[in-house]
Subunit: 109 residues, 2 copies
DNA sequence: ATTTTATATCGCAATATTACGATTGCCTGG
DNA sequence: CCAGGCAATCGTAATATTGCGATATAAAAT
């Protein structure tokens, strides 16, 4: 055991879980926030700004890229990362719908 | 190594990461959706509805509870789980603010 | 008091994640 | 072509997650 039983769930559930998982780390949230602020892409600046090793940052970037949340393009010497608009919109839609499903606190338990 | 360096990040980043992590599993998304639909709480019904063992469901519920996303009260024989309004509102706020920070696709890379 | 029913917890095995040093690959400038 | 820096990858250690059977706990029914 030790691996998620994806066959049991819907594609939507698996997809949302994958996206959330990709963001569910403080370093990756910090990376995304940096990208959101300086809209324009960043890269090795992160190594200096966050207190993590280059290999670690690269790994986090890879995970965000694998999930489709960011995309990277070669920009001369360094590499430029930025938000993938398509996935971001999908995320807004899926997550928005999910959160909105909660109808106030109609006295449950 | 192998453990997240939380000291490096802000409380907000760590908190959001914890909440996202708690939701970042298809089974837990499915559980939350069930709760959102039948607003009123559920419990061992999940064992029949999702295809997972009782011990596994119980563990997922525990994780959601630890994160503060759901709360449980004893309801006679069984236990009634429902959304924790406080955390849900926090999540909406944090996540909403986060997602909204993206200013369209102003030609990045 | 004993059985039934509903959950939680323990213990384990398989796998995934996190972090980093070391190395490799790759472009650019000399 | 070769040296420079930037970023990806490899390998490894420590720890976390996922899933389940088995067992424990606790309230309700008999």
């Amino acid at each position: 055991m030790g691996l998620t039983k994806t066959e049991i769930f819907t594609d939507e559930q698996n997809q949302l879980a994958t996206l959330l998982k990709a963001m569910a780390h403080p370093a990756r949230i910090a990376i995304l926030q940096r990208i959101l602020i300086s809209n324009t892409c960043i890269c090795g600046d992160l190594v200096g700004e966050l207190g993590l090793a280059q290999a670690t940052i690269s790994q986090h970037l890879k995970e965000l890229k694998n999930a489709g949340i960011i995309q990277g393009t070669i920009e001369g010497v360094s590499i430029c990362y930025c938000i993938n608009p398509k996935t971001w919109k999908l995320l807004e839609k899926q997550l928005g719908g999910f959160l909105a499903e909660y109808k106030g606190e109609t006295s449950c338990c």
